[in-house]
């Protein structure tokens, strides 16, 4: 994987034919550009997404290219953005709504739970909720309170929603485009710590990947490490470190979509390695890690040679940023957790 440090939004052309090196911000922007260009019913709505191009510049240039009826700056009200998106979807448009930070999406949670997740079911198929709700989540950007938490479990716990969490520029672009084309509602949790942390080659031509399919981010044979979103990077680093220091071969499973969850890929990996650990930013109690472990236990208990470990994800509030570096699971902490599982006999 390419790991170019980048603080610039501009997309850098790669030498590899029709591939372009870009960070996740550029990749998400490309997906929305693809969607706006190819589907007239797509509209973007959110706070500061137009003239300001989004507080993270994810919507850069889109207002200029598509105009104010396609890229819509809204008043400051998450509930009306999502409630309005419900009406737009019922009227046959495809809203792609941005919540400026996932920590403010609770002001719209009632609309998500009571309507986005239910309208298709309630009307027996008459009104599908084809919409995407994008939001940056997670720690690591030294922001004030409510800008750092990971609450994917709330959405995964809600029937009727897809909960997608990309980990790299290329899969972010492919999954966002797929989410916009999806006839069902998708909560799209963007790991903002990854926004500009590295670049990757992304094809210029529109590319999608299926929702609900995990990927093997690194093959290994001794232990399976299940991660998603921003935790995939430190997970891969930990795997590399363990290979070098302990000669332990770690397989990293990147969930990409936490709901629906790709049980088969997880269990298949554990069947191969016999050991497993999960790393998460979000709280442990009833979290995605707990669900991953439940599925391993239900479908692969007999493959296990050691108890499964949950790394990170303490049941406390995410600390303010003076403490966040210590709090977030690091490659070292993940490697130590993996060593514990490997050492079990």
């Amino acid at each position: 994987m390419t790991t170019i440090e980048d603080t610039n939004t501009s997309q850098q052309r790669s030498k590899a034919g029709n591939m372009t090196m870009m960070n996740m911000v550029g990749a998400l922007n490309l997906a929305m550009d693809d969607a706006l260009r190819t589907d007239d019913s797509v509209v973007l709505l959110g706070q500061d997404i137009g003239q300001d191009e989004g507080v993270f510049r994810v919507t850069a240039d889109l207002l200029a290219r598509y105009g104010k009826d396609r890229v819509i700056d809204t008043p400051l009200a998450e509930g009306a953005i999502i409630g309005g998106a419900v009406g737009l979807a019922i009227y046959g448009m495809k809203p792609v709504a941005e919540m400026q930070f996932s920590g403010f999406a609770y002001q719209a949670f009632h609309q998500v739970e009571q309507h986005v997740s239910r309208f298709h079911n309630r009307t027996r198929g008459r009104y599908p909720m084809s919409m995407v709700i994008r939001m940056p989540y997670g720690g690591g950007i030294r922001a004030v309170e409510h800008h750092s938490e990971s609450r994917e479990a709330y959405y995964a716990h809600t029937p009727g929603l897809h909960m997608v969490m990309p980990s790299s520029p290329r899969n972010a672009r492919a999954l966002l485009l797929e989410s916009i084309r999806c006839p069902d509602p998708v909560i799209f949790y963007e790991p903002k710590a990854v926004y500009r942390s590295f670049k990757e080659e992304v094809p210029e031509e529109p590319e999608t990947m299926p929702i609900g399919k995990a990927r093997i981010a690194r093959e290994g044979s001794d232990i399976s490490l299940i991660a998603w979103g921003a935790m995939v990077r430190p997970a891969l680093e930990a795997a590399e470190d363990l290979q070098n220091s302990d000669r332990v071969s770690v397989e990293v499973v990147d969930l990409l979509s936490v709901s629906p969850m790709d049980t088969q890929t997880i269990v298949h990996s554990v069947a191969k390695t016999g050991r497993a650990a999960v790393v998460q930013e979000g709280p442990r109690n009833c979290g995605i890690g707990a669900e991953v472990i439940a599925r391993i236990v239900e479908h692969g208990l007999m493959h296990l040679e050691a108890p499964i470990k949950r790394i990170g994800g303490y049941d406390v509030q995410f600390p303010y940023f003076a403490r966040e570096r210590a709090f977030l699971p690091s490659a070292e902490r993940i490697a130590n957790g993996l060593r514990e599982v490997i050492a079990f006999e």
Partner: protein
């Protein structure tokens, strides 16, 4: 730097045409043609008779909790008839005859209260949203539909119902605000029935009127006598015409009264006096409108009795059809969650099917 009153640009008015004593303001009377007038009366009477039937059915255990609209028939019936088929109507939950007028069979309305999801499926070609249970959460949807109309340049409008209690919700504020900012073709019709379960109107908001809240969002407010079908009709008609001409939203406060219980699970004697109810019974919209029609010779005793007879037959037929369509398949709870059902939900469906088989439960339960 003077101190002076601020003038607002938006209209705030009160409208009454046919008052509680039966007097008509001839200058304001829309002089509905006979067919429309009789149809409106029939719609109001249908709501009344369905209400009575539903309360009985709830007591007999044939449907679940029911929320009657007794006393509010003019407020919802005279508004909904102002909408064209290509317009949209977004409902709260006390508007049975609006559904009926828009093309929902009455038995479908019964199905919602009977515990069937089928009661929320709009018939093909009917541009309506079903009953919204979480108070005021439907207002942003109405705003969003109107937003779509504006973005697409469609000359259509949305009628959205809500109650006085709903105006305290954040969704009311947010929807009104967006509607004002984007000048959307939507009519928010607040049925101010004086009571949100046990909380009286004056304990809900310190505003002198609900209509004046529109001023703060930059559009017109209209308070009208919600038990006066002519005022509701004229007020809504003007708001719809304005919306379609690009004039933006209107907030209508229809002042009415919930003569019955909040729902069949409620005992209003705990919080309001009989005297108050009796006072409002004298303002009942149904005899008021019937007397107007008799006076205008649009109806006579015989033709009025025929309307009554037809309405009772229609309600009885709907109840019969409702009772005949109780068979449902519990398995289909899995079939409408998604357009593209994920594999894991399909697997759970199979698991549930197996459970039902073991327990001997099939379609019909």
């Amino acid at each position: 730097m003077p101190r002076k009153p601020i003038k607002t640009r938006d209209k705030l008015e009160y409208l009454s045409i046919l008052d509680g004593k039966g007097k008509v303001d001839a200058a304001l009377d829309p002089n509905l043609d006979a067919e429309t007038a009789i149809y409106l009366y029939r719609l109001m009477l249908t709501a009344r008779r369905l209400d009575e039937r539903c309360i009985n059915m709830q007591r007999q255990g044939r449907i679940g909790t029911y929320g009657p609209c007794r006393g509010q028939e003019a407020a919802h019936c005279a508004a909904t008839i102002c909408m064209d088929p290509e317009d949209w109507v977004v409902h709260a939950f006390r508007e049975p005859s609006s559904f009926y007028h828009r093309g929902w069979p009455l038995e479908t309305v019964l199905k919602f209260w009977g515990g069937y999801e089928e009661g929320c499926q709009p018939p093909e070609g009917v541009n309506d949203l079903p009953i919204a249970v979480p108070i005021a959460s439907q207002l942003p949807h109405a705003m969003g539909i109107a937003w779509g109309m504006k973005l697409r340049g469609d000359k259509r409008a949305v009628l959205c119902y809500c109650g006085d209690g709903g105006t305290s919700e954040g969704d009311f504020h947010e929807a009104m605000n967006f509607a004002g900012v984007y000048q959307l073709p939507v009519i928010f019709l607040i049925q101010n029935n004086q009571w949100a379960i046990s909380i009286p109107r004056e304990a809900q908001t310190a505003s002198e009127t609900i209509a004046q809240k529109a001023t703060a969002y930059g559009f017109d407010g209209l308070q009208l006598d919600g038990n006066d079908p002519l005022a509701v009709y004229v007020g809504t008609r003007e708001a719809v015409d304005k919306a379609k001409a690009g004039g933006g939203p209107t907030l209508i406060e229809a002042v009415t009264y919930r003569l019955g219980v909040h729902t069949t699970a409620d005992d209003p004697t705990k919080y309001r006096s009989n005297e108050e109810v009796k006072k409002w019974e004298k303002l009942d919209p149904i005899p008021r409108f019937l007397n107007y029609l008799l006076k205008k010779k649009i109806l006579n005793e015989k033709s009025a009795a025929k309307v009554e007879e037809d309405v009772l037959a229609e309600v009885a037929g709907a109840v019969e059809r409702f009772e005949e369509s109780r068979d449902v398949d519990p398995l289909d709870s899995f079939d409408y969650l998604f357009v593209n059902t994920p594999e894991e939900v399909k697997q759970q469906r199979d698991e549930f099917a197996e459970c039902l088989k073991q327990e001997g439960i099939g379609a019909g339960h």
